[in-house]
């Protein structure tokens, strides 16, 4: 038992702040300890006993002192105001990067630094490192294992994402389109239509998983939130480019819809991240570079260039997560191989990219419809396919697959690019 703690409350009564001071003292005290409240309000002699009774404490009497000051003795009861499993300790401070910046990469300090191997669903939305009252409801988070969501580089990628946001209404030089021949403008509109539908899938798929991820993996949730915003901006920018010359949104083909739906149908985050970000968005990097190189106007070149920078981050996150997931566990590689094979089964009717997109890309590379130009345009698209395969294999190896696995995975990848 501790010596009595003294609480000086001046002329406060129970409605004006006395309870704040008293509860702080009671929270620090142990059951059986005495807390002495000294104050001048005459009604305390009636109010404190009543409050003690309903709050589980014992009012043990009062002594009148000088100048209307009365000492009220309270013995702390056993009941805790909050049903906490313990108390939080003072932690380590966040060190400012360069003495100025509170960088996310540096915030792994104190209790918040520990990324749990398995997170407890009953901590709900309580932040990592905090103390959670007992009796809170369990949340329906299903992604509670670190291996199934984490990436070692996630804080770094999140910092890159927040530093590189752009405004699709104002940052793009929309007035610099100039004169684009009708057949090229039509090809741009068809390509933009295809990009928008693919970007929708890249928005919806991570969005579907965010509510399933335990908040103690908050860096992953935060990164995916930037990815979702990025994709919304890409949908916006590509739609605007399609509308800019009057051609507008063009055709969507069934094979593209089938391919994208097979991503939406994924129920495992790691598999979805692998198929969407490593294979799909990875392939998209080459596609966007091809469009930029062959763009008939500076606006088209700019929107795909800006989108490619964002997509590279998404690919990096997906690759980093898969690398984390695979490290030293051959069964995990086999799990992802199975997912890719299953998707290949679903997409077996798709033998080639959308003919409309293939043709539009060839026209952009040809820059005209003359037979000679078209020959080189078609050849450029063939070259793109080869390049996509080579780069996919490199990315898969960097994610931790063997060269043989990488070759097989890349060959199985959907001809739809995403």
């Amino acid at each position: 038992m501790n010596p009595p703690s003294e609480v000086e409350v001046g002329d406060l009564d129970l409605t004006s702040g006395l309870l704040l001071l008293l509860n702080r003292a009671l929270d620090q005290a142990k059951p059986g300890d005495e807390v002495v409240v000294t104050g001048t309000d005459a009604s305390l002699i009636h109010d404190l006993p009543a409050w003690c009774r309903i709050s589980g404490h014992e009012y043990s009497g009062s002594t009148a002192g000088e100048a209307g000051r009365t000492r009220h003795r309270i013995r702390r009861g056993e009941a805790e105001r909050l049903n906490l499993p313990g108390r939080v300790e003072w932690g380590a401070p966040l060190t400012l990067r360069g003495g100025k910046e509170a960088d996310t990469r540096d915030w792994f300090v104190g209790r918040s630094a520990a990324i749990p191997e398995a997170a407890d669903p009953s901590t709900g939305f309580a932040p990592r490192g905090g103390m959670v009252e007992r009796g809170a409801p369990a949340y329906p988070f299903t992604l509670t294992e670190r291996d199934r969501v984490w990436a070692a580089e996630v804080a770094d990628l999140y910092e890159q994402a927040t530093a590189n946001q752009w405004d699709a209404s104002r940052d793009v030089a929309w007035d610099r389109r100039g004169d684009v021949p009708r057949e090229l403008e039509q090809a741009v509109c068809q390509v933009m239509t295809f990009l928008v539908e693919n970007e929708f899938s890249a928005l919806y798929v991570p969005a579907k998983f965010v509510p399933r991820i335990h908040p103690h993996f908050q860096e992953v949730v935060m990164f995916l939130a930037t990815q979702i915003v990025d994709e919304a901006r890409h949908v916006e920018a590509f739609t605007k480019r399609a509308l800019l010359g009057g051609g507008g949104i063009q055709y969507s083909v069934a094979s593209t819809q089938l391919s994208l739906k097979s991503l939406m149908d994924q129920e495992e985050f790691t598999q979805a991240s692998f198929l969407l970000s490593v294979l799909g968005e990875g392939t998209f990097l080459d596609l966007l570079r091809f469009i930029e190189t062959n763009a008939p106007d500076p606006v088209t070149a700019e929107v795909v260039r800006r989108a490619r920078v964002d997509e590279a981050r998404h690919v990096n996150f997906g690759t980093a997560h898969v690398r984390y997931f695979l490290r030293g566990n051959p069964n995990h590689a086999e799990e992802l191989m199975r997912a890719a094979r299953a998707r290949r089964e679903t997409l077996q009717t798709i033998a080639a990219p959308s003919p409309l997109v293939q043709d539009a890309l060839a026209v952009l590379a040809a820059r005209s419809l003359s037979p000679g130009a078209i020959r080189s345009g078609v050849s450029a698209v063939k070259g793109l396919m080869g390049e996509m395969h080579e780069n996919r294999v490199k990315r898969l190896v960097s994610a931790g697959f063997t060269p043989d696995q990488s070759e097989e995975l890349s060959t199985m990848h959907t001809p739809n690019f995403m």
Partner: protein, 270 residues
Amino acid sequence: MEQPLRLGAVAYDPKAVTIWELARDFFRSRPLPLDFVLFSNYESQVDAHFDGFIEIAWNTPVAWVKAQSRANGTARALAMRDVDVAFTSKLIARSDSGVSSPSDLEGKTVAIGSRDSAQAAILPVHYFAQAGMAEGRDYTGLRFDLDVGKHGDTGTSELEVVKAVSDGRAAAGVVGDATWAKLLSEKGVDGNRVKAVWTSPPFHHCNFTALPSLSAERAQAFVDGLMAMDYADPLARTLMDLEGLKKWVAGSTERYADLADAMRAQGMIP
């Protein structure tokens, strides 16, 4: 398995269903399971108890006194909440009313709660009369007879009392200390305008009442179950928070004598 113990309680609020369902769940894993019956008023519950329809009644102090009077002093109080021990009534008054004790009530209007509430009517009126202040003769009662039959459980009449004092319809009023403390801590009253000026002698409040027909074993099994509820256990805590207690304590037949006198004087028991 033994026949579940049948307990009676009054549905003074929809949460009564939640409370007793939780209690039934809690007792499911105990040696003697529990079932319950809800009544709309305490008079029916006391009747049902004497008819043998329920074995234990969760009674207000007024219902206890009625039962004890009918049982000629043979009823037992098995257990009660920690907050039922040493309950008090408060005389509250407007700061500008000049009322600082019951003797200042002469010529004043005093707000009084439901006529069947021990804390908000029966006892304070009785104590004032003992101090020479009779309602109707020395002061005017402003009565709020709300939810009669529930013995003040709903607390609605006490809130009306506080409102009447706050807005000046009454110079003073009487409330139970539990309602008063809750209003103070939730800042539901202007502490500058309305102050507590008098506290009644302590009396015990609700209890689990048993009649001689209940076996000592069944009574003990029930009490053991209550005592096993731990405020640190989240499930028990839900029930205990809803019922407003931190722990169950042993029942006591003392500290109901003043209430019995008051009820006799007010014609509520023979």
